[in-house]
Symmetry: C2
């Protein structure tokens, strides 16, 4: 009614495509919530996953639904965003389109890539069949079923040698995921299930954690690495450092001259950036990550950004590399989302677009959990361990999950059960009798 | 020390093998808890499933772990019972052994068979690929993923005809499971998710419930069948009675001359007793169930019992057939377990074994839920419907699940969410981008 007659014609709404509904992509979408833009978030899964607790699904404490929410539901009220369940196959920065694996194309004016990392077997892709990794919900369910089935197969196996192989669990990789997995597996074998089996003694199961480098948790100070090792050993985990795996097959893991006969290998050793990055035609680092500028855009394409684990960038303030952790991914997503929102607003109003800020990582600390009432952490440069670290870990994860799931009581129950070694999701849902036979055969 | 010198030598402990860890088998094992016997419970899954709520897993309200518990955990404290994860392939009543599908054998003195029923496509086994049924956790997850993927595929489908086919959901079978599935699917499409999609209007999804007979829920009085139909229609479900399916393929369901173009067919029409029954060499009824005596043993083999859905028996008191419902399965299991416990105790003491009682079914009533605040029920011969029936249904199921899961708060939260149309487990965990493409293609 009282619109100024000389108001400029509305700028066409720019199309922002976001690849990946993880921490980075989702935060970017949310930071654009008030932007006059059409946002399309593309993910190959229908859900956002709270990945830091994925190992709890793999070790039967939580159901996938407890740590996941449909991306659509999260963005339901954000009317400028739509969600597509699809897989990006390649990116054409010249034509400004994303090619989808089903042959479709999605054009963009701005692109935010946050497709993260995948399991990486150091080029030995044949190991994948023997050593499942832990990147998504399907992975976690596969690990859970493999782990639980082993005890079932051992209970049925009369041959002592085979039984020992079935009850030997090897976790490869001494980072946070490997430590969490090995610790949780030891707790289950030694605390949660011993009284449920009649023929086998599950407390005799061997859980071996292999690390190629000289110590566990190399992102932490040395004394906390040592503490994590002592804690794991007290829980019954064998920790082998300086142990680089040279071969994995259906029967054994080989480390140079040593050979561990096992039917159960789990991979937590390495991830590599999604191969999608290669289609960008820009320099990648050794892990396949995109070397981005300090505004997180790629060289020569200021309208294309990379966020989260896929980005290789140094902190503009400290100069240190930004680590591949959830808080960094969230901060990058928010950074790019806000940057684009400001630029879109300026263009819509016909104002000049200001020069871009540089991404600064706010390191809020680092925590790694080992088992019930055991964890290590560094916060504000101060290291701590044991119950205080674990209580803080639990509190932080509950608070995050509550914001995300809004089911307070469920989470408190989970925390309580976790405290008491209970496991609420010890389920093998896929047909299993045949797989027990397979696990027993041919050791 | 003060053992009587003339005490008879201890009778060797009889071996009781129980096939199936469902309601019947588990109750039988539990009724034998004090028996001087070695009990082996064999199931091809590691968990007992609260089957009456399986449709809630299929429709994304609950996770499988919410309605399942490891059989081992349930029997943990019962020291005379062991659990084997294995599949029974056949039974040799003469040699008294159960042959397992992996080639093993399990000898028995007494056998209790409670392996239930399977989906049955009236001999058209090729329909199974197009119309998943709902008998176990893997089934429920398959239905959940298929249902959720359809909305994702429709959102991506530009062609209106294909979109309509993708958004047409056909549930075959108007018994309790079909009514529950159709009702829950309508609620999701019309209440839970409409605001999450930008291109499609999920409230236009067609949900069609096909029943071959003249009315839904034929175990209920006619006025309640009519009420269920009205309730479903008010919720947006098309109810087609007297509609016998003549063909199902990837593109359509055919009912005589009529053809419904659809990509989504779900099977709730028929079950048939497990084929294991055939190996007994005794008469079966038309549904493949074993015609047992009124002590639930099979003709000529008083040491072999059939319990639960696999048994065809008339109530010793009313003469009416015992229905294939959870309470009947539990009662049969307890009946046989107690009967055997008494006989084993008598033999151990060298006392005469008394003649066996006949199984009497205590009908506690029948409830079928239709949707939020809608259900029908018959209790003590009195029919009722609407909110009172639904509240009773919810209360009974919460009480049962609490006894079973011992997680009170989780269940109250579930009930509350269910009341408010929320769906807590809307997850597609298996790789899905390809499946979306497949759903869209070739309609």
């Amino acid at each position: 009614m009282n619109a100024a007659p000389d108001k400029p014609a509305p700028h066409p709404r720019p199309r922002v495509v976001i690849l990946g509904g993880g921490f980075a992509g989702l935060r970017a979408a949310q930071a654009l919530r008030s932007a006059a833009a059409d946002i399309t978030l593309i993910d190959r899964n229908n859900h956002h996953l709270f990945q830091p607790l994925l190992y709890q699904v793999a070790t039967a404490s939580l159901s996938p639904a407890d740590i996941a929410a449909p991306i659509r539901q999260i963005l339901k009220k954000q009317r400028n965003a739509r969600v597509l369940l699809a897989e990006a196959a390649s990116i054409d920065t010249a034509r400004r389109v994303v090619r989808l694996s089903d042959g479709g194309e999605e054009p963009f004016d701005h692109l935010i890539i946050g497709v993260g990392a995948r399991n990486w077997y150091f080029g030995r892709d044949q190991w994948a069949a023997h050593a499942p990794g832990l990147k998504d919900a399907a992975d976690a369910l596969a690990v859970r079923e493999k782990f639980l089935l082993s005890f079932e197969a051992a209970e049925r196996e009369p041959d002592a040698g085979r039984r020992r192989a079935i009850l030997t669990f090897v976790v490869i990789g001494g980072g946070p995921t490997g430590v969490e997995l090995a610790g949780a597996m030891a707790e289950i074998a030694r605390r949660a299930i011993p009284r449920e089996f009649r023929r086998i003694d599950t407390t005799t199961a061997r859980i071996i954690l292999l690390e190629g480098g000289p110590r566990l948790l190399d992102a932490f100070p040395e004394h906390l690495s040592a503490r994590a090792r002592r804690d794991l050993e007290a829980m019954g985990v064998e920790v082998w450092t300086d142990s680089r795996v040279t071969s994995i097959d259906d029967h054994a893991v080989t480390i140079g001259e040593e050979r561990i006969v096992t039917r159960n290998v789990f991979w937590a050793a390495g991830v590599r950036a999604s191969p999608l990055a290669e289609s960008l035609g820009v320099p990648l680092d050794r892990a396949g990550r995109v070397m981005v500028g300090n505004d997180l855009s790629i060289p020569g394409h200021p309208n294309v950004f990379v966020v989260g684990d896929l980005a290789c960038v140094n902190d503009a303030k400290s100069g240190a590399p930004v680590p591949g952790v959830a808080p960094a991914a969230m901060q990058m997503g928010t950074f790019v989302g806000r940057l684009l929102a400001r630029e879109i607003a300026a263009r819509t109003r016909g104002e000049p677009v200001l020069s871009r800020p540089a991404f600064v990582y706010r390191d809020k600390g680092n925590l790694a959990t080992i088992g019930r009432a055991r964890a290590v952490g560094v916060i504000a440069g101060r290291g701590f361990a044991g119950f205080p670290a674990w209580a803080l870990w639990l509190a932080i994860h509950i608070v995050y999950l509550i914001g995300f799931r809004n089911r307070v009581l469920v989470l408190l129950q989970w925390a309580w059960a976790y405290f008491r070694y209970e496991r609420g999701a010890r389920l093998i849902t896929q047909p299993s009798a045949e797989r027990v036979a397979k696990l027993r055969g041919g050791v």
